[in-house]
Symmetry: C2
Subunit: 413 residues, 2 copies
């Protein structure tokens, strides 16, 4: 293939080149207006594989680094995409903002409230936007539901549910040989370690940090049996992992209370056999959407006491961005959501404007992990959310930041 | 019709003759081996309607009372069925046991932990069984799921969910003219005021009070909007009820932790528009059942990551009692569950043996209401469950108490 020109492109570095990082890299390389002059991973073999991948796709071979600080020192990149381990997202994001680079960080939870505060303070001090790349915010159903909420279909919101219900036992157990960090978290932590796939879209429905906020949460963890049983059944009782006493409860349930009286129930459920679900539910004074039966009930429209298929409402409430996307051709992983999410980031960098998911969103959503661990450790004691906006949420309004905005629906002309 | 003879019958009094009491009365009158010599309600018109109902069905006209203590003083009745308001169940049950009558009490929650203790102590002191008539424990699906649990289909149980999700706005608002007590509770209380339809069957799956117990709970209530909005929309903004500031949150979420590390999530959701559900979910190390999509997933049996219809598993796991019941002809209200539940009570009285739902179950399940109100009042603070067995749960074993037993599956010869 002919090498593509980098002229006039958004130049991004990618930090973290495991499976997820390379997946995001491939999507970015598919964008005409993006170039990737620099990539980084602590493991050199991953750097080489990713660099080869760039060349194979007809792009110039990027410079490879093992130390992200060297990548950040380059003056030819405008932003970084971070796809490292959960526990390193915040520190890399903070250093990136200090280096003047837009941050697009993969999802995960915080290790402390302090690192959430540091994210916020660094972004405020440097003026550099920091976006959590919460792809599920750009899922087709999530965006349609957001559009329904904004159009008032459910009335005043009262209660929501969401979660990450994904049987990851084999992936987790294979973490040692795959050099994946998840298993180490499950060996030592106990809480909702991965809240944002469910909670991000719900937080947008609830105007969190823009006229509303999360006030407090309580979490409860079940016993931890699923992973151990899977290991014994599949790897044998003499396997070294069969001796591990995992701390991470199989099912962690979290209840969140909002400033305006809405409640959110969040589930983390990744070590038991089950089909995938994000357990979505949005419920208001006029109706309810539920993911698990893929249904909607709207007072005065639905037959009394009877669910209707979600798909019946989709044509009317398809999000404008998805209408356009379907015409253009849906692409990339996770049903097309990854591409849209990355485009939201890339176009923010390109236009030098705020990101649709901002540093306050990121700090608040990540904080759920820390607060949930603290609540579990204290037997379900309610933990207060910090107000990462320091009071600005009261007067901050949902704002349009381009067509990828999640706070206001961008309507096509 | 010819008057039926009362000879050799189980003689019961019915206390509380609103809609539910008269419904139970009709089912009892349909049983050949039951007679109803006495009925009671504080409202005389209800007593007369119920007495007329008995005669219309060919039975002798029962003696009517306004004071239940006069009914309890009769020496010709062996038990009472209590279908009064939630807040009077315990005191009537306690007096009935003191009068030597078997108690079958309608469902509801406790007003205080003290009345739960008093139920237990009175039953222990008098030796009289006290059964909560939790009809949902005898629902067809609930019994099949119980059978699946006991057969080990789900492996070791880890997490359960349940609830009472029932749009009752019209019934509640009509409570004043219908002289129904629910609206008064919603005007003054805030918690899971009606936990047992969901929680009773789940507690039986989890062997609560027989080798396991509820340790603690935390509850969170949403704002209260649904009932007020319904009243304004349907009765008008000048209706007296439109001025009422209801205290009962629209959705109350409760998390319970068990002694063996299982968690239970319970929802109370009765003042928003939605189709009915008891939100059942039973999840273990081998599989999961979920009511809302009417599906099951069993590792090694179901296609990977794919739900299967519940009905596919029903033929194999139909509860033996329901196999027999279907052959005999399902009868009575609530899909046949009311009849089975009342038969469980009647046959316990007849055989003078323990009831399948006992006073410890009743005290524990009712206590959820009190604890949930207390937790909501304290911002979600976790509340400890009393051990109503005073330590006996450690050595109590699931026991067969006839074919209606809910702790052990009675298999037909």
């Amino acid at each position: 293939m002919a090498k593509k020109s980098n002229e006039g492109n958004v130049a991004l570095g990618v930090v973290g080149l495991g499976g997820r990082g390379r997946g995001l890299l491939a999507i970015l390389l598919g964008m005409d207006d993006v170039s990737i002059p620099a990539i980084c991973d602590v493991l050199d073999d991953r750097v080489q594989i990713a660099a080869d991948q760039c060349e194979a796709l007809g792009h110039p071979r990027p410079e490879g680094y093992n130390d992200y600080r060297e990548l950040l020192a380059r003056d030819d990149i405008q932003g970084v995409v971070i796809a490292t381990s959960w526990t390193t997202h915040a520190r890399i994001a903070i250093d990136a903002m200090k280096a003047g680079k837009y941050v697009g960080s993969e999802v995960g939870g915080a290790s402390s409230l302090e690192e959430c505060w540091e994210l916020v303070k660094t972004s405020e001090l440097t003026g550099i936007p920091c976006m959590m790349l919460e792809n599920c915010c750009y899922g087709r159903n999530e965006m349609a539901v957001l559009n329904m909420v904004k159009k008032g279909l459910f009335g005043e919101l009262i209660h929501c549910q969401c979660g990450y219900e994904h049987d990851l036992r084999d992936e987790i157990a294979m973490g040692i040989e795959n050099r994946h960090y998840r298993i180490h978290n499950y060996k030592h932590r106990n809480g909702d370690v991965y809240p944002t796939h469910g909670l991000g879209p719900i937080a947008k429905c609830l105007n969190i940090n823009k006229g509303n906020r999360f006030l407090q949460l309580s979490s409860m963890a079940s016993k931890a049996k699923g992973l151990h049983n899977w290991i014994v059944d599949n790897l044998g009782k003499d396997h070294p992992l069969a001796q591990v006493d995992f701390t991470q409860g199989d099912v962690v349930t979290t209840m969140i209370k909002c400033a305006h009286g809405e409640t959110v129930m969040v589930i983390h459920d990744t070590t038991l056999p089950r089909p995938y679900s994000r357990g979505g539910r949005v419920q208001g004074t006029r109706g309810i959407w539920m993911e698990d039966n893929n249904s909607i009930y709207i007072e005065g429209q639905s037959p009394q006491h009877t669910w209707e298929p979600f798909d019946k409402y989709l044509p009317k409430y398809e999000h404008p961005l998805w209408r356009e996307y379907i015409k253009m051709g849906v692409r990339g992983s996770h049903g097309g959501a990854d591409y849209l999410c990355l485009r939201a980031f890339v176009e923010s960098v390109k236009d030098n404007r705020p990101t649709p998911i901002d540093v306050y969103d990121m700090a608040t959503w990540m904080a759920v992990t820390t607060l949930s661990e603290q609540s579990v450790a204290q037997g379900g004691h309610p933990m207060p959310f910090p107000d990462f906006t320091n009071g600005m949420w009261i007067e901050r309004l949902p704002e349009l930041v381009g067509k990828y905005s999640l706070d206001v629906i961008y309507e096509q002309e």
